[in-house]
Amino acid sequence: MTTLDYLRQDKLPHIWCAGCTNGAITSAVIRAIENSGIDRDKTVIVSGIGCSSRAPGYMDFDTLHTAHGRALAFATGVKMANPELNVIIISGDGDAAAIGGNHLIHACRRNIDMTLIVINNCIYGMTAGQYSPLTPTGAFATTATYGNVDRAFDLVELSKGSGATYVARSTAYHAPQLQRYVEAGIKNKGFSVVEAISTCPTYFGRRNAMADPVKMMEWLKDNSENKRDGAAEYTKPYVLGEFVNKTEAEYTAAYDREILAKVMLKHARHPGDQGQEERGAE
């Protein structure tokens, strides 16, 4: 099938600006979903609020556009209530790392089987250009007109330190690489984080001498380099590659094995035998 077959074509054209790479990243995610072989009708795509979070609206799956920052918390409920569902989350840098930062570290910690793609355009796009926790120090934004003094998170290190079992970073410029990472993330039986650095010529580019979409793509290329085995230092700000890929106990499986299976067996019951009867056993 083509990428278009996975889109709600009647919802196009999309709302994104010219030169925005949310579309390129959405296509990479769709191709990764197709390659991973997961059942489309058993797949839920969840997002928060932001330009990037509009992606699920164009994707022909069960889709859940939640509140700003809360995508992972909603997604956790979807997965936990029905672990058979594949859950993929698309979130912005503000959505995932600012207002949703707490949910991010806890999803990593639980290692719940979901895949998060953070579309990092280094800015709050939807609200027209305020700095985010991933805006580089020194960059300009509508709330950093004198230059950003905040330091940026390293999402890879944050996810790694919080316990995610698959962590990778790529960019919209490196779409085939990004697609491979998303696919690997989906296949990982645990919580996967893929940072996808993107472009926002309108709100990040314009204030940072890259209003031209081509310049922004060049910026992605010139500011990133691939991770190399044994390399101690890198000269470019963004290192691309797979940083974590390991197997550890997955949350819903652990719950079902350690709690559900054991407790249910002990309390095997007849239909209608609910609630109060068990109390006597406690």
Binding site: D41, V44, G57, H65, T66, F74
Partner: protein, 382 residues
């Protein structure tokens, strides 16, 4: 006749067991006094029934996960208290506009802020109604006993499923922590959400409401319907719309789907109201104190009566209007463990037909029957 069995239970425990009885299969929340036992009991009992429990990183996440779980078809619940209730407000609105069935229990404690965590109060009555931004329907039940904690929790699930909305169970620390012998029935009728009758297809409209009930049937995620859920104002197809007409119709429908049936939802208990001249309107633990007040006043020859709304919202207009028209009411008293919340709704409905007095207690101590009685005597003897 249904068989009954007596069990000694704590209010919060009754809430958890009632939820399981109602068919809850997913609970997500964050602990907070005086609601924590609800989470604890759910963590113990849910897995025995094949359900799952998760302790989230905060109350916002607890609400979010519950709503996410409900979209997979599960009956879900979360529980909290004052500070956590404040945190959940944004997502309560999400559940209302996206029309997701979810039961939210709030055990009121002294506030504002951290206040007195272990002391009772009734400070969230207006927050329950107006806490989240925008216009939305509110269904809010209010148990006054352990038995009602059990039964009204079941009722809350039934209403959430019927109306596709967030339904609140609001009570105070006294009811949550008290232990009482409870006679349980073995046949509680249960309601399950209407699901679409048509199989998945391109014509599926997830928000096309039934013209009678005004509630759209709800598909479970994972069944092939591939539909979109959003907190943005949306059309029948579930996608955002910029049409003022469509947006207005949506907000009006979600309000009307509850308002239309509000009269049949009213749930009140009446004590000595047949000939009463002085009416007390009280809820949760205050209602229990007010029962003593009525008995004491009657012994003194004062014609006192009591109306206990078990559903605070929608406001029980019919019952109050009936009392106003049938009785020769001289005064209405609204004792509350706050500086005056429900009394405003009472005054609005009474609309000057009779004086309405508020009796406050914000000491963090349970209302004494005399506090209420003394105030009534003061007014009655004038």
């Amino acid at each position: 006749m249904s068989k009954q069995q007596a069990v000694l239970m704590q209010g919060n425990e009754a809430c958890a067991l009632g939820a399981i009885r109602a068919g809850m299969t997913f609970y997500s929340g964050y602990p907070i006094t005086p609601s924590s036992e609800i989470a604890e009991e759910c963590s113990i009992h849910l897995p025995k029934h094949g359900g799952r429990f998760i302790q989230m990183e905060d109350e916002i996440a607890g609400m979010a996960a519950a709503l996410g779980g409900a979209l997979t078809g599960a009956k879900v619940m979360t529980a909290t208290s004052g500070p956590g209730f404040s945190l959940k407000q944004e997502l309560i609105g999400y559940g209302m506009i996206a029309e997701i069935p979810c039961v939210l229990v709030n055990i009121m404690r002294m506030g504002p802020s951290t206040g007195l965590p272990t002391s009772p109060a009734q400070g969230d009555v207006m927050q329950a109604k107006w806490g989240t931004h925008g216009d939305h329907p509110v269904i809010c039940l209010c148990p006054t006993s352990v038995k009602e904690m059990y039964e009204l929790t079941i009722e809350a699930f039934n209403l959430a499923e019927r109306f596709r909305t967030v339904v609140m169970v609001l009570t105070d620390e006294v009811i949550a922590h008290m232990r009482e012998g409870v006679l349980l029935k073995d046949d509680y009728p249960l309601v399950h959400r209407k699901r679409p009758v048509d199989p998945p297809g391109p014509d599926f409209l997830p928000y096309k409401a039934d013209p009678e009930t005004l509630v759209p049937p709800m598909a479970d995620y994972g069944q092939g319907y591939r539909y979109h859920t959003t907190g943005l104002a949306h059309t029948e197809n579930g996608f955002p719309s910029n049409s003022p007409r469509i947006n207005e119709a949506l907000i009006k429908r979600i309000c009307e789907k509850v308002d239309k049936f509000a009269h049949e939802l009213e749930m009140n208990e009446f004590v000595d109201t047949d000939d009463c001249e002085h009416l007390i309107i009280a809820y949760a633990a205050t209602a229990r104190a007010a029962k003593f007040t009525v008995r004491e006043l009657r012994e003194k020859g004062v014609k006192a009566g009591l109306m206990i709304p078990k559903m605070l919202w929608p406001f029980p207009k019919n019952a109050l209007n009936e009392l106003l028209s049938k009785n020769n009411l001289k005064s209405i008293f609204v004792p509350e463990m706050n500086m005056g919340q429900y009394v405003h709704a009472v005054r609005e409905e009474v609309a000057g037909r009779c004086p309405v007095y508020h009796i406050d207690d914000v000491s963090g101590e349970l209302f004494g029957p005399h506090t209420i009685g003394n105030k009534i005597m003061e007014v009655a003897s004038k």
